[in-house]
Subunit: 524 residues, 2 copies
Amino acid sequence: MSSLLQERVKCASLLKKIVKDARELVPLFKHGDYIGMSGFTGVGYPKVVPQALADHVEKNQLQGQLKFNLFVGASLGAEVEDRWAKLDMIDRRYPHQVGKNIQKGINEGRIRFSDQHLSMFPQNLAYGFYTREASNQKSPINYAIIEVTEIKEDGSLILAASVGATPEIIQKADKIILEVNTALPSFDGIHDIYEVVDPPHRKPLMIEKVQDRIGTPSLKIDMSKVIAIVESNHPDNTGGNTPEDETSKQIAKNLTEFLMSEVDAKRLPKELLPLQSGIGNIANAVISGMVDSPFQNLTVFTEVLQDCFLTLFEAGKLDFASATSVRLSNQGFDKFYADWENYKKKIVLRPQSISNAPELIRRLGVIAMNTPVEIDIYGHANSTMVNGSRMINGLGGSGDFLRNGKLSIMHTPSVRPSKNDPIGITCIVPMVTHVDHTEHDLDVFVTEYGYADMRGLCPRDRARVVIEKCAHPEYRPILLDYYETCLKKCLKAGSAHEPHDLGVVFKMYQNLQEQGTMRINKWW
Amino acid sequence: MSSLLQERVKCASLLKKIVKDARELVPLFKHGDYIGMSGFTGVGYPKVVPQALADHVEKNQLQGQLKFNLFVGASLGAEVEDRWAKLDMIDRRYPHQVGKNIQKGINEGRIRFSDQHLSMFPQNLAYGFYTREASNQKSPINYAIIEVTEIKEDGSLILAASVGATPEIIQKADKIILEVNTALPSFDGIHDIYEVVDPPHRKPLMIEKVQDRIGTPSLKIDMSKVIAIVESNHPDNTGGNTPEDETSKQIAKNLTEFLMSEVDAKRLPKELLPLQSGIGNIANAVISGMVDSPFQNLTVFTEVLQDCFLTLFEAGKLDFASATSVRLSNQGFDKFYADWENYKKKIVLRPQSISNAPELIRRLGVIAMNTPVEIDIYGHANSTMVNGSRMINGLGGSGDFLRNGKLSIMHTPSVRPSKNDPIGITCIVPMVTHVDHTEHDLDVFVTEYGYADMRGLCPRDRARVVIEKCAHPEYRPILLDYYETCLKKCLKAGSAHEPHDLGVVFKMYQNLQEQGTMRINKWW
């Protein structure tokens, strides 16, 4: 046993559970097992045991013969999730995923994926909704494989860079395997672990400010469930950041302008309200753009912290951040660990049932900002699928935040390139091909051309402002033609609340497939 | 002044505000005014002043020349809302409505309607989101016209059969007009009025059981805003109940069977969890069906109480009900008033920001049950629009409950008649024409043929179970043909997470328009 490991496992009675080689654990796992893992947005996930299993499948050519039901708060690192998918080791998967091979498996019908609001996943798991056919099992989850950075004297766990659904997974697991990551410092002090009890005994979440704590730094467990402890020394595999480009910078500028106008109109305080921001280059640009904004004493209530938030801390603009995961680049993690004592006071990591709780998002008045696949002229958004059929990553927490935030903002470039047209795909369409967020949930759309403030507008008024303020100039006349002609037809038919012609509404997609561009010549 | 009125207005300083004839108030109102009214699901709305305004417009042929922005918690009685619409007195309207003429006005483009989650409407009104262009006004709402049943010594108000958005409307109004309804008994003691404060100062809602009270029986107001008090003696105009038919009884039976199986599987306690039920004959049948069920000690956390809930109280099955409105038939109200002292202890009426609060619906683990316009094979629901264009009533609180409930159930007949085919319209379609509730939000669909339990299923598995368990037998092969063929095509294209063909997906609607039935012969 390494001295590092011994230092981290402070509970004497658990020392005897240490297993030298993860390969010893491989025979435990059976085809069809229900496996829960720690991890969220590719950090805090177990690295050693899942890879030993993958090695075993690869070496013995067991592809498709050792498939699992895989439950994780959100996405894992590619070397686990994507490799498992490539080796056909995943039957069912909830509630989110990232990776080329797992997407391929889902869209080729090999992996049964269901994306869920991230706040709902842990409770539905605890309710037994995902494991109905396994209700004769003692516990809905056979094995929980959890990354920790320390085990306290009382056997409670100090998790790593994410909390996610780990408390619920641990609670519902029959057996627990712990990976103590000695390549990371102990994260003791940054977590706030609170156990959400099922109704009818659930209590109010007593958080009124982003920095409020209601739980404990460590996760208490039933020690008798722990069957093995292994050492891990692989850091989180996060790679670099998506670079900002001119378009995302312009979007960030427009969004900041909108927020400033809200402060002017006294609908927001000058320090704003807690910010939530999704992942990606626009989100990075928006948060980084805050560095040069007049805003001070900002706070963050979000699900994942990326490098841009460190930048905002360093600039003295950000007072406190609450999330369920810290997903930094390698350089970002270096900075974070180097200034650990400082960041520990300014960051709290909560379970995703808390970080994404509708109760808290609405109470705090969060400003929610996310990037969709496409949006439509009446205010619906598609966050998950191409052509209504092909899954990308899943919903994530976007619905938790957009439904409940005080301001619900979606930002996207107005166009994307197709194979043969640099502006072949318009992100603003007559009707999105999959609705993840409805017109009842969204307030403001932002593109590089401007922002459309839809609050209080009826669908007819929304359509005009979205087309005029947000669409790419090449697509404006096309969209306007659709809207104006549908309006005329629907007025005649007495059905003009939200004018549509279902016969042609998806014509642009057909054109994209056949001609490589959504720039159609005519609708009818 | 009638002795009845004098008895109800207990605040001496407000007595001088009594106006004998509502017509005296008509000159106050200007074209374009922002008017807030009490009222929710056609009860508790002002009757006298709105009708005096309508008489004025009718008599002086001012149709279209005296139009208002109308803010009400939900729908008003037909003699106000529908008459105003007929007289072209409504410019903008939020967040819900009921009535032939108001729907006509919306769909003919005269009324600018935007439907909103009922829990969000009061806060967005308070935030000033609906009155952005009036932000130079002293108050966003020019006049609040509120029905009350009593005015206490301190000037605070005892509301009537609904609370709705009245607290927020009163708070944001420049001037207040009170209608004291002396045809109703005083509702003193049934309300729990709590003022939701805007972020960043909002507090947890400290309700852990449906019967918990956190507010006061009367609504405190700034008395200096009261400009007039008029007497009203019109009861709420609610009419009778929608009768139950065989189909709705069978749906109720299937739903009860599902709930019983959940109790057996220990996913629900035997007294269930608080019930929410929408309006309509299926909802009536479901709640009435509980009388003969084995369930005891039921509780209700919903937005509106209908006659069927009284039946459940009378049967000794229901312990307590929380709502924002009591919308009973005339006979129902007679029973309710006759047993007032008893019902006052078993019913609480809250503001809609509380009755529909995501925070409470999730905490209490509400069982949400609502009827859609149509549902689709992948688990989306349309609650508001025909053909994606023609508005019916609006979303109401369905989204508040379906997103946040422990169980989210939608019940519908499998088919409806078209003009020339008794089963010409299938309520289960490949893709709904408007999405109000997403696949991420719904757990169970119920029709007269059975129930589809979609929890934990990927879209491909959902499609099969929805078609097989819920669709009408005539439509099963049609829907299965769509699904199977799309699956084949999408598997080939590597986009089979949720198989669709956008080129034909709405073909049934075209057939309905052209042939009067959705029973198509072929898709391709």
